[in-house]
């Protein structure tokens, strides 16, 4: 048993300091945790956790059934939800998640004037915007990439020969990664761009929902209802990223293929570029 005296006076620190990129990671991590309800009541955590579980549900269901039923339907179950179809199934969930997450990342900082505190420390405008983008992207990847990856790993595990399955489907891994990144980046950028225009979360959420839903319904009505030019599908902002991810997989035989894949990819790129430009424009002159 020994006693120890602790010196609680302020001491200088001359040890190692992290390089500037560490600030980016720190900003992203703290922002993401805050937006997902860390240190807040269970009500703040409820929606993010629920939506994440919903996104995993199809993968859990398919793998559970395969585990229970066994090899008899081994070849059929993967096709119940093919990889290219997975993001279509959870597209609405991802959109709702982004609609909740993105305003939480930007609006409280604007409301409490925290941006000026960040900018007056060691964070530049570009680092701030990049940190917030990362804070949106990483949690969204948990919905757009991890469930499909889980399905891929499960399918590999349940296959008669894991090595044969991997040899046949190794390209699917990269398609899954690219799809997840594309969808998560798209909804992150659009969500953050909308949220950057207001300090009120409700307005940001409403604006994002309107931007994603109204053009989608209008475009659908014009093309599939009124029979106008099929290129008008490209104004369907809510459908663009899903169609673009589906186009990454070969052999899709649905309506998306009425337009070549590069149309969807180009349209996604344009929307993402405009969103990034909006975001940058909103923060380039923000006061410190």
């Amino acid at each position: 048993m020994s006693a120890r005296l602790e010196d609680t006076r302020y001491a200088r620190y001359d040890g190692v300091r992290r390089p500037p990129w560490y600030a980016l990671v720190s900003l992203a991590r703290w922002s993401a945790f805050g937006a997902l309800g860390a240190r807040k009541s269970w009500r703040a955590k409820f929606l993010p956790i629920s939506l994440t579980l919903i996104a995993f549900l199809p993968a859990f269901a398919v793998l559970a059934i395969r585990a229970i039923v066994g090899q008899r339907f081994a070849d059929r179950f993967p096709e119940r939800i093919p990889y290219r179809q997975y993001l279509t199934e959870i597209g609405l969930t991802v959109t709702i998640f982004a609609a909740i997450l993105c305003p939480e990342l930007l609006c409280p900082d604007r409301r409490d004037n925290v941006l000026s505190l960040y900018l007056s420390t060691a964070v530049g405008r570009l680092t701030y915007v990049a940190g917030k983008f990362l804070a949106a992207l990483v949690p969204l990847l948990c919905l757009t990439f991890l469930p499909v990856l889980l399905l891929f790993i499960g399918n590999t595990f349940f296959a008669d020969s894991a090595t044969s399955y991997l040899a046949d489907h190794w390209l699917d891994f990269f398609r899954i990664l690219a799809s997840g990144l594309l969808l998560a980046s798209y909804v992150s950028l659009v969500g953050l761009a909308v949220a950057s225009f207001t300090s009120r979360r409700a307005f940001a959420l409403g604006g994002y929902a309107a931007l994603m839903l109204i053009p989608t319904y209008v475009g659908g009505a014009l093309v599939f209802g009124a029979g106008l030019d099929r290129h008008l599908q490209l104004i369907m902002l809510g459908r663009l990223p899903i169609a673009a991810t589906r186009a990454l997989y070969p052999g899709s035989q649905d309506q998306d293929q009425a337009l070549a894949g590069w149309w969807w990819w180009a349209a996604c790129g344009v929307v993402m570029a405009i969103s990034a430009a909006c975001l940058w424009w909103r923060y380039r002159r923000a006061d410190a």
């Binding site: 992290r18 500037p20 560490y22 720190s26 807040k40 409490d112 007056s120 410190a288």
Partner: protein, 308 residues
């Protein structure tokens, strides 16, 4: 030469900043190396603009600004990682705890996470918020928020802290405590301080040197003791009795006597002889000497003289 630049706390040359037709800073040139420097001036005198220019947050229209020898315009980010800044305005996230915010801002300035957590405990203890560290900032009083702002400015062990009106909005007790904290920074903790205020007493109590700004121009700068301008061979006396006889007795001893404020007499003479001459004159005329004080000007006199 490099060591000299490093030792200089503030150095500006011809610093000018305009906002449309308003000249916020007008060719401000300073060079001060003291540990605690006060920026004094009325609201709108240019204090905040000067601070923001020194931090590299405002791009000057002309001139240069250096803090700790670092060019603020060219190396603003690097500078802000090395120093601490306590903004004047409300800027704390209401949804974070004091501990989380200070850890976070420590990490933003390059502290490894474990170190940031350790140092956060230290600085929250130093500013008197250790017990409240896990409370949400949104529930804090103004005084506690000011302490959080000070803690975040100190967490990364800065060489210098820039404090923009840290006593704003505080009650008398809170103000006393904040001034004591600020004084401790340079006196006990070895951190250089740049402190802005429009309250002269606050600057006088916490700083070694002062820059007085008026309408964006430097009205006065230098060490406070020098600005007071101690006049060797001058004193102020307060006495009760026949003051006419006292004046005559002092004059007979070669002391020049002038009327001072509120019944005080200002006396000027040979510094070595003056106290004895006053004592002897009082004894000779049977006048009771109530006070004999050095003939310093107050900082207030100096400031008023500078801006008049």
């Amino acid at each position: 030469m490099a060591a000299t630049a490093e030792r200089t706390t503030i150095a500006t040359t011809g610093l000018t900043k305009r906002y449309d037709d308003i000249v916020a800073l007008d060719e401000v040139s300073l060079e001060l190396a003291d540990d605690a420097i006060g920026l004094l001036g009325a609201n709108g005198a240019g204090k905040s603009t000067l601070m923001r220019a020194l931090l590299g947050l405002v791009e000057p229209d002309a001139g240069t600004a250096r803090l700790l020898g670092i060019d603020a315009a060219a190396r603003g980010l690097e500078l802000r990682r090395r120093i601490g800044y306590m903004p004047e305005h409300e800027c704390l996230p209401s949804w974070m705890t004091a501990r989380d915010l200070v850890v976070h801002l420590g990490e933003l300035r390059g502290l490894p996470r474990r170190i940031a957590v350790l140092r956060t405990s230290e600085v929250l203890f130093q500013v008197g918020l250790e017990e409240e560290r896990l409370r949400l900032i949104g529930t804090f009083s103004t005084g506690m928020r000011q302490r959080v702002k000070l803690a975040q400015a100190l967490v990364h062990s800065p060489e210098l802290v820039v404090l923009d009106e840290p006593t704003n909005g505080l009650d008398p007790q809170g103000r006393e405590e904040m001034l004591e904290l600020v004084r401790r920074l340079s006196r006990d903790l070895g951190i250089r301080v740049l402190f802005s205020s429009h309250v002269l007493e606050d600057v006088e109590r916490t700083c070694d040197a002062v820059v007085v700004l008026r309408d964006g121009r430097v009205a006065a700068q230098g060490r406070i003791s020098e600005l007071r301008g101690r006049e060797a061979g001058s004193a102020r006396i307060s006495a009760v009795g026949d003051l006419g006889a006292l004046r005559a007795a002092l004059t007979a001893r070669g002391v020049r006597v002038e009327d001072g404020e509120e019944g005080w007499l200002a006396v000027h003479g040979d510094p070595a002889m003056l106290p004895d001459a006053v004592r002897d004159a009082c004894a000779e005329t049977d006048v009771s000497l109530r006070a004999l004080l050095p003939g310093d000007r107050t900082l207030e006199d100096a400031v008023i003289g500078a801006i008049a």
